[in-house]
């Protein structure tokens, strides 16, 4: 459960596992980022669909 180690103005996570673990807060941090990403992608998909159906109704 290694957290990030500070080294001269940056952080070093050491390994992917420790990056994903987020010092034990992985579920909270990635749960936040994943839902945000999913919602943004969903909004863009819905917008593309809405445009297509609007164009379809004109023709």
């Amino acid at each position: 459960m290694g957290g990030a180690v500070r080294e001269g103005g940056g952080v070093s996570w050491g390994s992917l596992d420790s990056f994903l673990a987020m010092g034990g807060y992985g579920l909270y941090v990635w749960g936040s980022y994943a839902v945000t990403l999913v919602l943004i992608v969903a909004e863009l998909v819905l917008l593309a669909k809405r445009r297509r159906s609007a164009v379809g109704r004109i023709r």
């Binding site: 940056g10 010092g23 909270y28 945000t36 164009v55 004109i58 023709r59």
Partner: protein, 246 residues
């Protein structure tokens, strides 16, 4: 040099411009979020008190700011539409509502995931959290009210009244941490005090704010284009666009 801004107040001239702007702001959003996330995860240090859980604020704070900012812009467009009876204003207000609701939900969701490890609870009914939840219901109310009225011009008017009355909630959210004794902490950034966090943390948060802002503009413009096509489907320009898009 003078630009005739009124030219862009009609849907048929604004439509292609909105398409170009959406692309530009979409690209800017991707660039800003890439830089902001890089600084947020690879430059900003671990927080001494919160450990790594604080990295949620890189989306939480920008989303919360956008949720309030978009509401004010929505109310502004709605008010302009109500006062001047301009076609495009109502369309812009309608285009903003779902993206505003999205950012409000993200602010609440990420706040909850931050609150659990930090406060020990997913949710409290304190002034900041409750007023932000009311903001989400205001967005939903605006969308539902507009959807329930068939005539778009009447839907715009009814929505505008709701948006304008609801705008009182925005200063309540913003100042809630000052006016009431809340579990939620005070402002992270203010104009009168120097920020209470490390410069790299603040930098990441501000760049992410620009990223969300650009994304918000792009999404709203894309939705405004949909609304223009839906409402003006009988017009010549819409027919031409549909033909070209086929």
């Amino acid at each position: 040099m003078s630009i005739n801004w009124f030219k862009y107040s009609s849907p048929q001239t604004f439509f292609p411009l909105a398409g170009k702007l959406a692309l530009v702001f979409g690209a800017l959003a991707i660039a800003a979020c890439a830089v902001g996330l890089y600084i947020g995860f690879f430059v900003a240090p671990t927080d001494a008190q919160q450990g790594e859980s604080y990295r949620i604020i890189f989306i939480h704070v920008p989303a919360a700011w956008m949720s309030m900012f978009l509401y004010v812009v929505m109310a502004l467009w709605a008010g302009i539409g109500l006062g001047f009876n301009t076609r495009l204003s109502g369309m812009m207000a309608s285009a903003i509502a779902p993206t505003g609701a999205l950012f409000t939900f993200i602010a609440l969701w990420t706040g909850s995931l931050w609150g659990k490890p930090t406060w020990g609870t997913w949710w409290v009914w304190d002034a900041r959290l409750t007023s932000e939840l009311i903001l989400l219901f205001l967005y939903f109310g605006f969308i539902a009210l507009q959807a329930s009225i068939d005539d778009p011009r009447r839907a715009d008017k009814a929505g505008a009244l709701l948006a304008l009355v609801g705008v009182i909630n925005v200063p309540i959210i913003y100042f809630s941490v000052k006016w009431w004794n809340t579990l939620h902490q005070g402002a992270s950034v203010s104009l009168t005090k120097s920020p209470s966090m490390a410069t790299t943390m603040l930098t990441a948060m501000l760049i992410m704010t620009f990223g969300f802002w650009f994304y918000g503009i792009a999404a709203v413009l894309l939705r405004a284009r949909c609304i223009m096509l839906e409402r003006e489907r009988g017009s010549e320009w819409a027919a031409q666009y549909a033909k070209a898009a086929a």
